[in-house]
Amino acid sequence: MSIAMAVVEQVAAAARDAGVDSVQQVRLEVGELAGVVPDALDFSFELACAGTALEGAELIAEPVPGRARCEECRAEWPTGMPPQLRCPRCAVSTGQLLSGRELRITSVRWAGEPEEPEPVRVREEC
């Protein structure tokens, strides 16, 4: 819930800065190892949005798989969940996490602004 509230707070602040009073969509990158359950986030997001500029906004959580690399043998592997952070090949405890801890608002879509007309392109060059 606190994560959802933090998301709403930050997007609401960005909306204020942009002079926008309604947000349509929020895109979030959620790493496999970020400690956030996407379903729970969805549910809390809706609650946290109530009464804010984000009321009714859609949350799109893009999962980022956990990946790790061994600093010794350079093997790379998907960490899985629960994560395997020891190198499955050489068992040396020097794994390095490449991805999976992301918890980041990547983009937002303001509501109410006119859709930018698609530029008309003459597709001759293709």
């Binding site: 960005a14 801890r101 918890l103």
Partner: protein, 235 residues
Amino acid sequence: MCRVVDLQQSVLAKNDEYAQRLRADMAARGATVVNLLSSPGSGKTALLELELSTARQRGLTVAALTADLATENDAVRLARSGAPVKQVLTDGLCHLEARMLAGHLDGWLPEATRLLFVENVGNLVCPASYDLGESLRVVLASVTEGEDKPLKYPTAFGLAHLVVVTKTDIARAVGFDEAAFRANVAQVNPGVEVLLTSARRGQGVGALLDRALAAGDGAEVHRPVMAVPSAHHHS
């Protein structure tokens, strides 16, 4: 004008900033914060009670802040050690955040405090995501909780600087498989130390205190694989 705006903001960036500031403030006044995380009923308070009284016997200035959803029972227990103790009621919030902690310390934390133990709300999910400006993050599990606890709560155990097993005095009675527990810890946090403790027998109490003091003195603290600072900040 484009309707979709690239924001590229880490959700936890604000807390991380407050935590960094608090860590620097604490360091400037010679204090070290130890963040204690565990499930409810793991024996955090019993162990902390002993840590506080042992520290005082050693002539160390210690203090404790304990956070709970409700009741001041823990503060009453901890205050028996004679150390300054503050109870924080989180009013339904399941974890502490750095800014909240800083607010509670403001005007309360005694000037000469060397070690501040923060007993987080009993919960292994949300507290794991919030840096409190600690120099040492300790995650505790009792022998009754099952050897797979580290796999069930990989973020909490994966980000620990030190893992503490509590209630080892009843380990045999409850059939605790220490090797399996250690293997599970090593899977999510390779290289982290696992310290066995028993508040009843006083086992590991001094060792935990030593680890906290060492962290405060700038000794190198274990760096968990999962602790990727850039994960929150890259853009």
